[in-house]
């Protein structure tokens, strides 16, 4: 329906994840869960799609003996988000 809108970002959860990453340097899996209130399984699937598209980077590490998944938006992701917002403006005009 909305052909110009990036289909990868035009989904509720993926758009929320990218929006969170646009506000800071990095965010971790728990913070994404906290804000979106989505299930960990659903978030994992959407993160994988965004990672495969090169929109985000995923860094897995250990913090205090617990596994930590940190997410960071890439330049490609920033550009895609900016284009998406520009397209949105055209539709809303």
């Amino acid at each position: 329906m909305y052909k110009d809108l990036d289909p990868l970002l035009h989904s509720q959860l993926r758009l929320a994840i990218v929006s969170i990453l646009m506000t800071g340097e990095s965010a971790d899996f728990n913070q994404i869960m906290d804000i979106t209130k989505a299930t960990s399984g659903n978030i994992s699937v959407q993160i994988k799609k965004l990672q495969d598209a090169g929109y985000i980077e995923v860094v897995k590490s250990f913090k205090n003996n617990y596994q930590n998944t940190a997410l960071k938006i890439t330049n490609k992701g920033i550009k895609a988000f900016e284009n998406y917002v520009e397209c949105l403006k055209q539709y809303i005009k």
Binding site: S11, Q12, L15, G24, E25, S26, N30, Q31, A38, N42
Partner: protein, 194 residues
């Protein structure tokens, strides 16, 4: 929240809400403000008492507690940073700004106090006021903002007060500008965790 497709208006609303939610998540228990405030209050009051008792040669000795407090704060946030779940721009910016201003205050106070003469305390208070106002605006906290304005006014009033009483002004400003906002931040953090 699921992976359903959105209308443009829904997308825009979602972006706005998520960004506001993520930005408002400034998490700090006020540790640095309370520790630095108490140390600064004790050091200033100590200097005031030493001056009144005519111990002029050692009147600045209490301020040696400040680099120690600065180091404790640095290591505390270093350790906390390794445990923290996420970094956002506000936290990073305020951390860097606080470190730069803190170092400048210590350099001015320890090495250039004689150059500043009676302007030293007003200078310290103006720097503190700038830090408080920026912090207040960034984290949308009225207590920091109002404390900053109060400290800024005190800075200029200090010029009309005898130099020997300047440490007392600094002690009061430490309470108004650091300890009180720090405690308020601490209480609000505790409330959020209930």
């Amino acid at each position: 929240m699921d992976s359903k497709e959105l209308t443009p208006n829904e997308s825009l609303a979602l972006i706005t809400n998520v960004i506001l939610e993520a930005k408002s998540r400034f998490r700090d228990n006020g540790f640095s403000f309370i520790l630095l405030g108490i140390c600064s209050f004790a050091a200033s009051l100590g200097q005031f008492v030493l001056l009144k008792l005519e111990f002029y040669q050692i009147n600045y000795f209490p301020y040696f507690i400040m680099p120690v407090a600065g180091a404790i704060t640095f290591f505390y946030y270093q350790k906390k940073g390794r445990m923290v779940r996420s970094k956002n721009m506000i936290s990073s910016l305020l951390g860097v700004l606080g470190a730069i201003l803190g170092i400048n205050l210590m350099v001015a106070g320890f090495f250039f106090w004689n150059k500043f003469d009676i302007a030293l305390v007003p200078f310290i208070l103006i720097i503190l006021a700038i830090w408080l106002v920026i912090t207040g605006v960034s984290i949308k906290n009225k207590v920091f903002f109002i404390s900053g304005i109060a400290v800024n006014i005190m800075a200029f009033c200090t010029f009309y007060i005898a130099g020997e009483n300047h440490p007392l002004i600094l002690a009061i400003a430490s309470l108004i500008g650091l300890v009180v906002p720090g405690l308020m931040l601490n209480f609000s953090q505790k409330e959020n965790h209930v």
